[in-house]
């Protein structure tokens, strides 16, 4: 159980975390979803006892991050945002080193990291600096796991990683979760929220919402329209000019549109678009995604 109460952290004038509170349950896969600069890295460093909060309290399995950092460091596996292993040491040497540092051996915990390590084992004599991005990330995860941590803290493990490697990485996390490890992960990719048990949407040092992705979507009470036409760029401009528009953004092949009027008649909107000479208009209400909700929360915060 991780309990954070009113955690704040500032760097000079810049307030990275603004009185953030949340709970993370044992064995949970908990995601912090938000863009760069939202405060995720600061928060993770505080959880890992690497950074002192300006105020507030944070307990990791009943250990206080300020006073009992030594205990926390024993049970924590931490993977920083950028690749932080020794590039001039081989895969195996890196693993051996981190194993010894935690007073264990690769052999002793081979079974735990097997699923991950097996993919890089053929390259165990290669220098870590010469691995591809996906393999580096797997090595970093293996190193973070080598001492059987009870809690795994992964700071943006998938940033800059291609879609396939990202998917594979999340499959690995699922396997670790099944072994009862509490996993805290941050990501700027909104679609990855769905893979977490619960998520905190975080933006500019504030937590916008904490819940399971399913509940976040269920409790969202605005309608999202997916709209497309032959010229989406002009369509975007026209939608933003619609009198009751809340916001309109491109979402891949279609645009997602939210109206300030909950009773909006979809036909009125269709008629408007036809009057603006759009052809091949497709217009339907869809179930919102986390990214829709995130954008809406961001825009709401901005207005306030």
């Amino acid at each position: 159980m991780i309990i954070a109460e009113n955690i704040s952290k500032s760097y000079q004038e810049n307030q990275a975390l603004k009185s953030v509170s949340f709970n993370i349950n044992d064995g949970e896969l908990f995601g912090f979803i938000g863009p760069d600069g939202a405060g995720k890295t600061s928060l993770f460093r505080i959880i890992a006892s690497l950074l002192l909060p300006d105020c507030g309290s944070l307990k990791v399995f009943d250990y206080d991050v300020v006073k009992q950092y030594r205990e926390i460091r024993q049970i924590t596996g931490y993977m920083p945002g950028r690749f932080s292993l020794y590039t001039d040491l081989s895969v195996e040497e890196n693993l051996d080193f981190f194993a010894s540092v935690f007073g264990t051996t690769l052999k002793e915990n081979y079974e735990l990291i097997k699923d991950i390590y097996i993919q890089i084992e053929p390259f165990k004599d290669r220098l870590a600096g010469k691995l591809s991005g996906g393999m580096k990330q797997k090595l970093a995860l293996s190193c973070a796991l080598i001492h059987r941590p009870r809690i795994l803290i992964l700071d943006e493990p998938t940033t800059g990683v291609d879609a396939v490697s990202r998917k594979e990485f999340w499959e690995l996390l699922d396997g670790l979760k099944a072994r009862g490890i509490t996993i805290i992960v941050s990501t700027p990719y909104m679609d990855e929220a769905l893979l977490c048990d619960r998520v905190a949407l975080i933006q500019e040092g504030n937590i916008l919402s904490v819940d399971s992705p399913g509940n976040i979507i269920k409790n969202y009470n605005k309608k999202v329209y997916s709209i497309g036409s032959d010229n989406n760029y002009r369509l975007l401009t026209d939608l933003r000019a619609y009198p009751t528009v809340l916001h309109a953004f491109a979402f891949g092949q279609y645009l997602h549109y939210t109206d300030s009027n909950p009773e909006l008649n979809i036909n009125d909107l269709g008629t408007y678009l036809e009057s603006r000479n759009h052809s091949n208009i497709s217009l339907q209400v869809i179930e919102p995604g986390i990214e829709d909700i995130f954008i809406d929360l961001m825009e709401t915060v901005k207005v306030n």
Binding site: S49, L50, R70, T76, P80, S84, F98, S100, V101, G103
Partner: protein
């Protein structure tokens, strides 16, 4: 302990993976010594000497012949009384005068001991000191020869050394202790601070900090490899200085090595201290170079004599660890000082060491900032 061992092994691996750095660390002292050394020793081929032999017996003539038979010396003139010595030097031709006592041969045969005096023109201290040590080596050889010939239990030729014009020997042979100070600073302070800063730059420090490794283990683990390297460097410098250039080690070798080790520790803690205040390798390097190397060269008495400096700089030099190291090493190597004569230099260095350790441990953070 296992943790610490793993850490040290890792550090050695970093070193092995970067053979260029290691090469440079060994090449620099050797090259620097050779440069200094050869610049000086090229001047002493065929040095002109004068001989004042009060004894003029077989043994004294044997010694004179042996000295003249070496590559280094040419007899300029033979003197007949002491008053001629200064005159000989004044002429500017003679670099060294060898004085052999009255009844040299008889004293050796009867008492097993004879005495000679080497007097050099120390206005060029490097040359003076080299000539002295060459002459001494020849005399030592000769002493051995006589021992074998006479089958006496032991024969001692007592050598007294005097210098004209520069009796304190301001900079002769200083290049060995000087190079030692410079290299040890480079290896210890610079390399240690850079290697710790590198962990910060790469982000690996974050992982080390969240591990159960204690700060002291991290610091010591960083320090050990460079301690080994610099210890080897120190030995290399002493050996080359002594055997290639004939720089004497008049005091106890153990004292010399002990002094060097103290300085190595001092420089290492300096390096650790620098690393606690530098976030990147570049900053660490800048601070080490500007803050350590320049004072070592300029303010320690290595190149510029301290006495000629403005008072302010002299005061600043008091805070420079290499200054005390140079003083101590110079006294041990060149003057044959024992611990009784240099203990206060050692005490100052030890005090500095304690101070730097305290500051480093205090400043080394268990967290990021």
């Amino acid at each position: 302990m296992n943790r610490f061992k793993a850490f040290v092994i890792k550090e050695f691996r970093h070193l092995i993976r970067d053979p260029r750095t290691v090469f440079v660390l060994f090449a620099i002292p050797v090259i620097q010594l050779l440069l200094f050394g050869f610049v000086i020793s090229t001047e002493i081929k065929d040095a002109k000497i004068a001989i004042l032999d009060f004894s003029r017996d077989d043994l004294s003539e044997g010694l004179v012949n042996k000295i003249l038979a070496s590559d280094y010396f040419i007899l300029e003139t033979e003197l007949s009384n002491i008053n001629q010595i200064e005159q000989a030097f004044r002429s500017g031709q003679v670099k060294e005068v060898l004085v052999i006592e009255n009844n040299f041969g008889r004293n050796i045969v009867h008492d097993g001991a004879g005495a000679v005096q080497i007097i050099t023109d120390a206005s060029d201290p490097n040359i003076a000191s080299l000539l002295d040590s060459y002459t001494r080596n020849i005399i030592l050889d000769y002493q051995q020869e006589i021992s074998n010939k006479t089958q006496a239990a032991s024969t001692i030729i007592d050598v007294e050394y005097r210098m004209f014009y520069n009796e304190e020997l301001k900079s002769a042979h200083l290049f060995v202790p000087g190079t030692m100070a410079l290299i040890l600073m480079l290896v210890c302070a610079l390399m240690t601070s850079v290697s710790i800063a590198r962990e910060k730059e790469l982000g690996t420090m974050e992982i080390l900090l969240v591990s159960p490794l204690r700060p002291l283990q991290i610091v010591l683990g960083k320090v050990v490899p460079y301690m080994v390297l610099s210890f080897i460097d120190m030995l290399v410098i002493i050996v080359i200085g002594h055997f290639v250039f004939g720089v004497p080690v008049r005091g106890a070798t153990s004292l010399l090595i002990g002094t060097g080790t103290l300085f190595i520790l001092l420089a290492l803690t300096l390096g650790v201290m620098i690393s606690t205040i530098s976030k990147t390798q570049q900053i660490a390097m800048m601070i080490s170079l500007v803050g350590m190397m320049l004072p070592t060269v300029l303010l320690s008495g290595f190149i510029f004599p301290l006495k000629n400096m403005p008072v302010v700089l002299q005061a600043v030099s008091l805070a420079m660890p290499p200054r005390w190291f140079l003083q101590a090493v110079k006294d041990v190597m060149l003057k044959g000082a024992g611990i009784a004569q240099i203990w206060h230099y050692l005490a100052i260095m030890f005090g500095m060491l304690l101070f730097f350790i305290m500051v480093s441990v205090k400043k080394f953070k268990i967290r990021l900032d």
